[in-house]
């Protein structure tokens, strides 16, 4: 299987190791991974801020770059959903682009969904051990149905003790531009998430979307917690510790 990795702009800038972990996991599932070099951002911030022109411009760029590939995989439910679900909406008025958006959308997957349901990964390369708790990011959960997939993959690590937190499906307060428009409200919601997560006694809070993870990590550190790790699911599955 040939898979094009959509790295996402946040992973590119903030956590390259998530991108490399994703490559390792895809290769462990016998995929040939291609990383289109000119990729930047899916355009979601523009679309969610009401800037249709900017969103359409970036949507076309992503479509042109990725439509030649058999599968496209992103280590983010939110970016994968944006390409899959929103591109056809953004380009609804341009029939040619709309058709290309729909054709690409059906081949775009969130990483854990792809590993479990398409590539059918048998065993994970990592050896992470310890108690963790999993935060279900909103768009992946409610739009793409990402819930069982990360847990099925974590179950392949014999040393992982997954303790579900209260309100695992509740928003962490990130919300993209919401976090920089209403910082105090956003951080107050994040505090609830951190308290619920820490109450499990987990040594790592794990999730599938870097935006949420940066929000949670930033709040934890501000709360004075320097110990609890905040990790992307790809990092956990590929970690050799």
């Amino acid at each position: 299987m040939r898979v094009a990795l959509f790295v996402t702009c946040l992973v590119d800038l903030m956590r390259p190791r998530i991108g490399f972990a994703a490559i390792e996991l895809l290769e462990a599932a016998d995929c040939e991974v291609i990383v289109p070099a000119a990729q930047t951002c899916c355009g979601q911030p523009a679309w969610n801020s009401g800037d249709r022109a900017a969103a359409a411009k970036l949507a076309k760029k992503v479509i042109a770059e990725f439509e030649g590939h058999e599968y496209v995989v992103a280590p983010s439910g939110s970016c994968a959903d944006h390409i899959r679900t929103e591109y056809p909406v953004i380009l609804a008025d341009e029939p040619d682009w709309y058709a290309r958006a729909v054709a690409l959308g059906s081949r775009v997957y969130e990483l854990t969904d792809f590993l479990v349901n398409v590539a059918k990964l048998v065993s994970v390369p990592g050896n992470f051990a310890g108690r963790i708790t999993y935060h279900d990011s909103c768009t992946g959960l409610r739009s793409l149905g990402i819930k069982a997939q990360p847990r099925a993959l974590l179950a392949k690590l014999s040393g992982v003790d997954l303790q579900e937190m209260n309100g695992a499906e509740e928003c962490c307060g990130f919300g993209g531009t919401f976090s920089v428009k209403f910082g105090e409200v956003s951080a107050a919601i994040a505090e609830r998430k951190c308290n619920n997560a820490c109450a499990t006694g987990a040594s790592a809070i794990v999730g599938g979307d870097l935006g949420c993870l940066l929000n949670i990590e930033g709040k934890l550190r501000r709360m004075g917690d320097t110990q609890t790790r905040v990790m992307h699911i790809a990092e956990v599955l590929a970690a050799k510790e």
Partner: protein
């Protein structure tokens, strides 16, 4: 009601800084959510029922004029008078005129959000008619200097027991009570006198049933029955979108409304009221008026926001909203809070008058998932954001920033250079620490949390290095 939605940001920060409110919101959170989750399991096909409700509400909205005419015809034949109000001022004029015509001195009210839209209580007082709120929550707010409600079905959810105890002690001049049954008994005693002496009852209407010309009222306290049966005049005030074709449709919606709202299988009282008191009837009003209100609704019909008119005012969207749960309803500044309010307030009071509200959501879609009539609330919020951009209502720096960012992101080389510098700048700011405590480029982010430090190089440069 005058909108304070323009001040959402400062309102929300004040809400966060109010420890009493924060404590009360923490207590309230979860009650509605858990009860709803349990009660919807009683329905074999909850999703199918939601679909049916969505379809029937869509059918009505698509032919709203026809169903309203049908309702008017049948309600009139049953002895009611149907009046139309373009806006809040016209609601007030109608009610005051009815009051004068019938020589009304006192009006008892059950819950009506439309009367909040109109600011009806102040208008009645000015006209010499004493309005008395009889829903317990609304009564508490009225005696607290006409405080606005913070929730559409639990108007006083932001208040704690202590505050109510203090208020009753102060206003009723009775010994301070701290037991809920004692407080409700005290309110009952005060209100009973008003029920018996009021000449007019004012209610909202959860639904208008076109085939019978009836109003359906869904309540829990019994005050609705007093208001609609004891006084000789009953005035129903409700929005034009509340009409439904048949009693069969009412039964479909009633499977969803109480469960979505309070997690009850059925509310304590469901009243279907039709016509005036007939010969031989033991009770009921001699005069029945319907005031059917537009106040912005007609403009939404046929627009890209039409889905919003399906709303049956259950409050599930706000009960499940992480933002509402954190700041409460007053911060939203007008009658309707939470996700539905963030759509309705700009639509009914002007997009330019509620700039923050469509952005006051994380788009987590918890609201869309629980909405009993499947209103795509996050999509509508996003469309309102798009309208703001189209109308040039966004701050200039935000518009410039997005244009610049989109341009850079569409030029891979430039993007690579930009991120190369950005990641090093952030790393330098962190100075070897895990996080950055103050970030000048995103000051709002670091007001309540740190900004995690980047690894130090971009993926694209590391990947290029690995390949070579």
């Amino acid at each position: 009601m005058e909108s304070r939605a323009r001040r959402f940001k400062s309102n929300s920060e004040a809400a966060l800084a109010n420890p009493v409110l924060q404590g009360n919101m923490r207590t309230a959170k979860g009650k509605f959510v858990d009860k709803r989750a349990i009660s919807i399991k009683e329905i074999d096909d909850f999703e199918g029922t939601r679909e049916a409700a969505k379809a029937l509400r869509n059918r009505v909205i698509e032919n709203l004029d026809l169903w309203l005419e049908k309702f008017e015809e049948i309600a009139t034949a049953r002895g009611a008078t149907v009046l139309w109000a373009k806006d809040g001022a016209e609601i007030c004029r109608h009610v005051v005129d009815i009051g004068k015509q019938h020589g009304i001195k006192k009006a008892v009210k059950s819950k009506s959000m439309l009367s909040e839209e109109a600011g009806l209580n102040l208008a009645l007082e000015a006209a010499g008619i004493q309005p008395v709120e009889t829903d317990l929550g609304e009564y508490i707010l009225q005696i607290n200097n006409n405080e606005p409600p913070s929730h559409i079905i639990a108007p006083v959810v932001h208040k704690g027991l202590d505050e109510v105890a203090d208020l009753f002690h102060k206003v009723h001049k009775t010994p301070r009570k701290t037991e809920i049954p004692a407080l409700t008994r005290e309110a009952r005693e005060v209100l009973r006198e008003h029920f018996l002496t009021a000449e007019m009852g004012i209610s909202g209407g959860n639904f208008l049933v076109a085939e019978t010309g009836s109003v359906a009222l869904v309540t829990n306290e019994g005050n609705g029955r007093m208001v609609t049966t004891l006084p000789r005049v009953h005035v129903v005030i409700t929005g034009i979108e509340k009409v439904i074709p048949t009693l069969e449709d009412l039964s479909t919606l009633m499977r969803l409304l109480p469960r979505s709202a309070t997690g009850q299988s059925i509310s304590n009282y469901v009243s279907v009221l039709t016509g005036t008191k007939a010969a031989g009837d033991l009770d009921g009003p001699e005069h029945l008026y319907f005031i059917l209100v537009d106040n912005g609704r007609a403009d939404v019909v046929g627009s890209e926001f039409q889905d919003m008119l399906r709303c049956i005012r259950c409050g599930a969207c706000m009960n499940h909203c992480p933002v509402y749960q954190t700041i409460g309803g007053h911060a939203y500044g007008w009658v309707y809070p939470g996700p539905m309010g963030s759509v309705l307030t700009p639509l009914y009071t002007g997009i330019e008058n509620a700039i923050d509200l469509p952005h006051a959501a994380t788009l987590c879609n918890q609201c869309g998932v629980v909405c009993p009539v499947k209103i795509p609330l996050p999509e509508l919020l996003r469309k309102l954001r798009e309208k703001q951009v189209e109308k040039n209502l966004r701050p200039w720096f935000e518009r410039v920033a997005f244009r610049l960012w989109a341009w850079v992101a569409s030029c891979p080389t430039l993007y690579g250079i930009g991120t190369w510098f950005a990641v090093r700048y952030l790393k330098w700011l962190a100075g070897g620490n895990q996080t950055i405590p103050i970030l000048g480029a995103a000051p709002e982010w670091t007001r309540g949390r740190d900004f995690p430090a980047p690894e130090g190089k971009t993926f694209r440069e590391l990947y290029a290095g690995r390949k070579s």
